[in-house]
């Protein structure tokens, strides 16, 4: 059953300050609509990229967004800062309305764009539970009936009659989330609000959100930058970028895709003309350089136990016994994980003059979730660099998505670049 159906949602924002100029725009807009003409400022928006300087004063924070959410789904929403996530949540929670489009909703929406909205520092924890609860749309009777549950979930029983201004920020957050988690709404909208709590509490909140959707059949929409929690919680993923959305039915795949696009590089493969920029050398002409899996599907995202196959097509102009090809693997922050060259093997393939098509199988990598850079090495061994990693070598970016077989105990991902199998025995 669909509970949310959004059609053509767009949101236009005016940039800059409100002043005398905006008064002129208002009058002009009013004059146009009075004569039955189109709003002169609605057309001038452009795609919203905060890093680029635009020419108009108006910008589309959201542009023609369509999506649907079914009952009981957990929809994760990810995207860079300024991608339009919060604007979307604001429209859904009715704190502002869209410029165009409609959203149809079934059931009550409770939105948690911030924890502790309406908390008054002077009031006691007890009063604030009622204050916050009623602001979020509960009645006093509803709050009363769940009061003990809320207090227990927050774990602040001792401080219940102390003004919340004396609370630690963590306690404040606990109390606020506890109220929100016990809302009796069919749809829960959560912005990135859990970043402040301690680990134990974050865990508890995520568990509660999961529980809310699974056992109570309520629908959750949440924004997070924490990919681990997105991957483990959501049943579907919405990626936002410059006011546009893409949907993924498999969150893990979506996250991999998102990682890839946001590394700042966009190199997925080398072929044809893109190689021309690498410069000439006397030994080798590279024709193609790309990654695939063992069955030959070109890929840029791999799971961590998958074999990565590096494909090379090149012509040898002048053969040399010292000529070697290989790869160097780097993390996204440029740490070298390993180098490998084909001459290191006992009986290396021979690189005689002519065309070659070589596959480099990289097995048992046990890399952690994240982005990696694979640089092509070509050299006359110990004599001369032809493609030197981090200098002039062509490189490919690939990402590894969620390592399997680890408990969700790590709040984002396990530390480090590797996820070897580690055993603890007593």
């Amino acid at each position: 059953m669909k509970v949310i159906k959004a059609e053509n949602i767009s949101k236009l924002y005016r940039l800059g300050q409100v002043g005398t100029g905006s008064m002129f725009h208002d009058v002009n807009r009013w004059w146009h609509t009075m004569r039955g003409k189109e709003d002169p400022y609605l057309r001038v928006g452009e795609i919203n990229d905060r890093t680029r300087k635009g020419s108009s004063h108006y910008v589309w924070a959201l542009k023609d967004i369509d999506f649907e959410v079914k009952q009981g789904e957990v929809l994760g929403i990810i995207g860079r800062n300024g991608a339009g996530k919060s604007t979307l949540l604001k429209i859904l929670s009715r704190t502002t309305s869209p410029t165009t489009g409609t959203i149809k909703v079934k059931g009550r929406i409770a939105s948690l764009l911030e924890v502790g909205t309406g908390f008054h520092p002077e009031l006691s924890g007890r009063d604030n539970i009622f204050m916050n609860g009623t602001i979020l749309g509960m009645t006093r009777a509803e709050i009363k009936s769940r009061f003990d549950e809320i207090v227990e979930f927050a774990g602040v029983e001792r401080y219940l009659d102390t003004p919340v201004k004396r609370y630690s920020s963590g306690m404040y957050l606990r109390l606020a989330f506890a109220v929100a988690a016990h809302l009796e709404s069919e749809i829960l909208i959560v912005d990135e609000v859990l970043a402040v709590g301690d680990y134990e509490f974050q865990k508890k909140c995520l568990g509660k959100m999961k529980d809310v959707s699974e056992s109570q059949g309520r629908t959750v929409l949440f924004v997070s930058h924490n990919m681990q929690s997105v991957a483990s919680l959501s049943s579907r993923l919405l990626i936002m970028n410059n006011g546009l959305v893409r949907q993924f039915s498999d969150p893990v795949e979506g996250i991999a895709c998102y990682h890839q696009e946001n590394t700042g590089f966009d190199k997925n493969s080398y072929s044809g003309s893109s190689i021309g920029g690498l410069g000439d050398n006397d030994y080798l002409v590279l024709n193609e350089y790309y990654l695939c899996d063992e069955s030959g599907n070109r890929k840029t995202a791999f799971s961590n136990n998958e074999t990565i196959v590096v494909n090379l097509n090149f012509n040898i102009k002048n053969s040399d016994p010292l000529l070697t090809v290989g790869v160097g693997l780097y993390t996204a922050d440029g740490v070298n994980l390993f180098w490998s060259i084909h001459l290191e093997e006992d009986s290396p393939v021979s690189l005689h003059q002519g065309s070659h098509s070589i596959k480099i199988l990289v097995r048992d990598l046990c890399l952690n979730e994240g982005n990696y850079k694979i640089e092509l090495i070509v050299a006359l061994h110990n004599k001369q660099w032809i493609y030197r990693p981090e200098f002039n070598a062509p490189y490919l970016i690939f990402s590894i998505f969620r390592p399997s077989g680890l408990r969700d105990i790590w709040s984002s991902k396990r530390q480090g670049s590797l996820v070897p199998n580690v055993k603890y025995i007593k």
């Binding site: 604001k90 502002t96 909205t117 009031l123």
Partner: protein, 297 residues
């Protein structure tokens, strides 16, 4: 048989899916979309706002709620000295203290309603930006909590009246005493109507905030608060003063409570119509602004 039934329920679900939506979020709203039923559903929130106002206002003060009395009392004393002793303006035969105190009490109710509600959007932007509830709850709760404060100040006035009565100065509360709640409601409507109009305008242009603070002060002198209408001799002036829809309210309040002043039914009906129009226009403007004010505030 079973299969058929299944099919039937499936069809039903489909129909349900297509037609029943509890809420439709869309860009522009109809001319009048004031959902009073929704406001009623949020009555508990209104109550919480009122409670919060009182609980938080005098926290960490020594005199606490006594401040409710101190403000009108000292203003009254100043008025007694300036307007009665120095300027020697008539007080309609009433003891000056009672005359000014009654004027200030009813005027304060109007002005505090107006000033607080005219700030609704700007002052609560931080809450409004985070959570949805019918925005009208906010100004309504302001009007109600000020009504409680008005009640407290009315006690002071009654105490003063009793003190004068004990000391042998008679005050004639007329049969119109029952009319006081109506006057208060009209005052509330006036403050609310004007307040929400101004608050709707201030979301974009803050000029109106500046206007309100000194406008209210000026308006007080255009209302018979520190002087009775009977003291105004010039017919021109009388005319201009009676255009002010607050004039009959203050006069009627004094008349009902203290037996001095005037009670002019036609004049009150004029005020009533004025207030009604103000409220209708105010609610219309408020409803229009509340949808998108977060983008301009």
């Amino acid at each position: 048989m079973d299969k058929n039934q299944n099919l039937n329920t499936k069809n039903l679900v489909n129909i349900e899916e297509q037609e029943i939506w509890d809420l439709i979020i869309k860009p522009r709203t109809d001319l009048f979309e004031i959902n009073l039923r929704e406001v009623w559903r949020y009555r508990d929130l209104m109550w919480m706002f009122i409670r919060r106002d009182f609980a938080a206002q005098y926290k960490q003060t020594v005199l606490g709620p006594l401040w409710h009395f101190i403000q009108p009392l000292f203003t009254t004393l100043i008025f007694v000295v300036v307007f009665s002793r120095i300027a020697e303006i008539s007080t309609d035969g009433l003891p000056p203290l009672i005359f000014y105190l009654s004027g200030i009490t009813i005027w304060n109710y109007f002005s505090s309603c107006l000033i607080a509600t005219s700030n609704t959007f700007v002052a609560n932007a931080y809450i409004f930006g985070k959570v949805y509830f019918p925005r009208l709850v906010m100004p309504l709760s302001v009007v109600l909590s000020n009504m409680v404060k008005f009640g407290i100040q009315l006690l002071l006035l009654v105490a003063a009246m009793i003190w004068y009565a004990i000391n042998g100065i008679e005050i004639h509360s007329g049969y119109f005493l029952f009319f006081i709640p109506v006057i208060i409601l009209m005052m509330a409507g006036m403050g609310l109507g004007l307040g929400i109009i101004i608050s709707s305008l201030t979301t974009k242009y803050r000029d109106f905030t500046v206007l309100v603070t000194f406008g209210v002060q000026l308006l007080m002198y255009a209302t018979p608060v520190v002087f009775p209408m009977s003291a105004v001799k010039s017919p021109d002036l009388k005319f201009w003063l009676s255009i002010n829809p607050l004039t009959p309210l203050v006069e009627a309040f004094r008349y009902a409570l203290l037996g001095a002043g005037s009670f002019d039914a036609m004049h009150l009906i004029y005020s009533g119509i004025f207030i009604l129009l103000l409220l209708v226009f105010g609610l219309f403007l408020f409803g229009k602004v509340e949808k998108t004010f977060m983008d301009t505030v």
